[in-house]
């Protein structure tokens, strides 16, 4: 592997933190979803790097699973967002407070 594994991990961490900050600070449901996607891909990047370093294919197989999860998450998540928009006329996450104890 040309790129040192440490660099790959660093990139993955940076991506993960970017995604997390995005998911936490934005109030728009769509942006939260985007943040979650970025976090998932950061995890995928770390797995691919590890797979190349140790020459084991398990990591790459795992990435396929992550793609599948991400795809279905987007499908369901977007449908929910569209529905919520219809119901309440808003995609602001803080407007949904039915679960308040």
């Amino acid at each position: 592997m040309i790129v040192p594994y440490g660099n790959v991990l660093l990139l993955a961490v940076i991506l993960f933190l970017l995604g997390a900050v995005c998911a936490l600070t934005r109030r728009n449901l769509l942006m939260i979803l985007v943040g979650v996607e970025i976090m998932l891909n950061a995890a995928g990047l770390a797995l691919v790097g590890a797979s190349l370093k140790w020459r084991l294919l398990d990591g790459q197989a795992f990435v396929l699973f992550i793609f599948a999860v991400a795809a279905s998450e987007v499908a369901v998540g977007l449908a929910l967002i569209v529905y919520s928009q219809h119901r309440t006329g808003s995609v602001n996450a803080d407007h949904y407070n039915l679960m308040k104890g």
Binding site: A20, L24, A93, Y96, N97, G101
Partner: protein, 636 residues
């Protein structure tokens, strides 16, 4: 024979079932027609069975019901002359009352419910009549109780009616418990539940157990037949429709208690104590309720108290060891009392739901047919010789008088006084309701007294039977055939234990007959149109007191209210407020509150905001991962 008896039992059941399931979707004509036809079919089967059987007995098992270990219950019937007479009476009276009901309920929308319960009632009553197995009999016993409850409260939207239904149900239940215990005891002692076998083996019972069983059975019968001290439900049961009162609370169900004792007579007769108790309670009840009937003004309540008093004669017959006499009176009573109730139903509908006899009057002119029919019922109830109840009642009096025990002489005297009061209250009701009155109420004059002609004429067979009921058992002392006595001679207790000589019989019957006629004349002078007793309540203070006493049935209801219902209510209130709400509920509430206090801190966390949750999720995840990483680093 098996088919006949099966059909006899199950015609009304199937009709009731069909009405219950799809009755709502049937046209009114068809539903009514089916209800009547099924009971008429039963009547036909009863006659067929009577013709086929003659004096033979049949013990048949229709089908098995349940079987647990050596305890098995089958739906079996025991058909003997007693059951034959009873089955005929029940189906005959029910048929006429069903036909009458078609007219009576013509404006009621709930006819399906009505006919369904009536059919189920007839089925349950026939089960009591025919059942051999005591558990099967108990099914019918509870069935009639249920139908009685539901039909008393038929117009349940009025709370008074619903309460009357509940009262009847609860009070009869007090008796039913004893009957249930008696059934369990029979199984325990004899390992038998069949009436036939129990009667067969009764002599193996010891005197003590026989007394216990006899008293338990009597207590069960007291509840069903509204004898002292469980009298109070029957007058209130008049809240139901009049045909229901006629069928259930006069002709059939209330006599079921007496019938049960007759069915199990070999057990009862073993115990001297039980027999004396039955006779004493019966004589007391008779006198008590006849006096109470004298103070009523509601025509149906008069008849209700009269029913209690007449049923007590049947018990007196059993208590004196004369089942035939009791059955004879049961039969004639069923005819004339059903007739009187149905006549009263005609009056009440004609006068637009007026029950007070003192507000009636002039009805002889305005409802002549009802007048004659009612007269037939009245002379039978009043036991004016030679009509209706005269010979049956006198036969019971004679059997009581002939009993060697001295106490029975007193009981016979009480029963004779009851008979005289019976004449008085019967004709008080009759004269006050039907004769012309100088101060008659003009509002009824103007009103249109129209009732369907069918409703009046359907009473005719009853009237004929009521008047000629004496012919069924015309005593041999007067040159009669005494057909019923011969027919019932083969059943246990069919022949009186202590017969009196024909000479005594003749003189006593003539004597009491003359007394009854004298009472009738006296009643006329008291309650004739110009009589002084037509005001109610009377203006004189003393009589007013007396009338109030009689009107309230000797304050028995109030006594129960104070002595039983009051303490029970108070106790229930303590249990409710102090124990249930005070102790149990409050402790639970306290526990709940403490949990709430505990969870108050957690409650703040659930803000319902997605961003908070996400932050917390990430924070928790970071903490877990950090701990894992650190522990891996240090403990590697």
């Amino acid at each position: 024979m098996k088919t006949i008896l099966f059909l006899l039992l199950f015609f009304p059941f199937f009709s009731g079932l069909i009405l219950a399931v799809i009755g709502r979707y049937l046209p009114r004509r068809i539903a009514e027609w089916m209800a009547c036809a099924s009971v008429l079919g039963s009547l036909l089967m009863a006659i067929l069975a009577f013709g086929t059987a003659g004096e033979k007995r049949y013990l048949l098992t229709l089908f098995d019901w349940m079987r647990v270990g050596d305890f098995s219950v089958s739906m079996s019937v025991y058909y003997d002359p007693l059951a034959a007479i009873m089955a005929f009476m029940v189906t005959f009276v029910s048929s006429l009352i069903h036909l009458y009901s078609v007219s009576f309920m013509r404006e009621d929308k709930d006819y399906v419910r009505y006919f369904c319960y009536m059919n189920l009632f007839v089925f349950s009553m026939l089960v009591i009549t025919l059942a051999d197995n005591l558990v099967f009999l108990y099914l019918g016993w509870e069935g009639v109780g249920f139908c009685s409850y539901i039909l008393i409260g038929f117009w349940y939207s009025d709370v008074v009616n619903a309460t009357a239904g509940r009262k009847a149900f609860i009070l009869t239940r007090i008796g039913d418990v004893a009957f249930g215990i008696a059934i369990a005891l029979f199984f325990l002692l004899l390992n038998q539940l069949s009436i036939f076998s129990i009667n067969d083996k009764a002599s193996s019972l010891s005197a003590g157990t026989a007394t216990l069983l006899g008293l338990l059975l009597f207590w069960g019968a007291v509840g069903k037949s509204a004898q002292l001290p469980l009298i109070v439900w029957l007058p209130d049961a008049m809240a139901g429709p009049t045909p229901v009162s006629a069928l259930i609370h006069a002709a059939t169900m209330v006599t079921a208690g007496a019938y049960l004792l007759m069915r199990l007579f070999p057990v009862i007769v073993l115990s001297h104590v039980a027999m004396t108790t039955i006779a004493t309670v019966a004589a007391l009840t008779g006198l008590f309720s006849a006096l109470a009937a004298l103070g009523q003004k509601d025509i149906k309540r008069i008849l209700a108290y009269s029913t209690i008093s007449q049923v007590s004669y049947m018990f007196l017959g059993v208590g004196s060891g004369d089942v035939t006499g009791g059955m004879d009176h049961l039969l004639s009573h069923a005819f004339f009392k059903a007739l009187l109730f149905l006549g009263a139903g005609c009056l009440i509908q004609a006068l637009h739901e007026e029950h007070d006899i003192f507000k009636m009057g002039n009805l002889r002119r305005r409802l002549p047919v009802v007048f004659w029919l009612y007269l037939a019922g009245a002379v039978s109830l009043g036991a004016i010789p030679p009509f209706g109840g005269f010979f049956s009642k006198d036969r019971i009096l004679l059997s009581t008088f002939g009993h060697p025990e001295p106490i029975y002489r007193v009981l016979a005297l009480m029963a004779e006084i009851t008979a005289l009061i019976t004449v008085l209250y019967t004709f008080r009701m009759f004269f006050v309701a039907f004769l012309e009155k100088p101060s008659s109420h003009e509002d009824f004059e103007k009103k249109d007294l129209k009732i369907p002609r069918f409703m009046v004429w359907v009473n005719l067979p009853l009237a004929i039977l009521a008047i000629f009921a004496a012919g069924l058992n015309f005593p041999e002392a007067f040159g009669g055939k005494a057909w019923l006595s011969h027919y019932l001679a083969s059943i246990p207790g069919g022949v009186p234990s202590f017969p009196v000589s024909p000479g005594l019989e003749r003189s006593m019957e003539i004597g009491s007959g003359l007394l009854n006629i004298a009472m009738l004349v006296m009643a006329y002078f008291l309650y004739r149109p110009e009589g002084r007793f037509l005001e109610y309540p009377s203006p004189v203070l003393l009589r007013k007191r007396l009338e109030e006493l009689l009107f309230s049935g000797f304050y028995l209801d109030r006594l129960y209210q104070i002595a039983l219902v009051g303490p029970y209510r108070a106790m229930a209130k303590i249990f409710w407020l102090k124990i249930d709400e005070g102790a149990v509920d409050d402790r639970f509430d306290a526990t709940g509150n403490s949990f709430r206090l505990f969870s108050f801190g957690l409650q703040l966390w659930t803000t319902g905001r997605l961003s908070t949750y996400l932050k917390m999720l990430l924070l928790g995840f970071t903490v877990i991962v950090s701990i894992l990483a650190l522990s891996w680093y240090y403990f590697r």
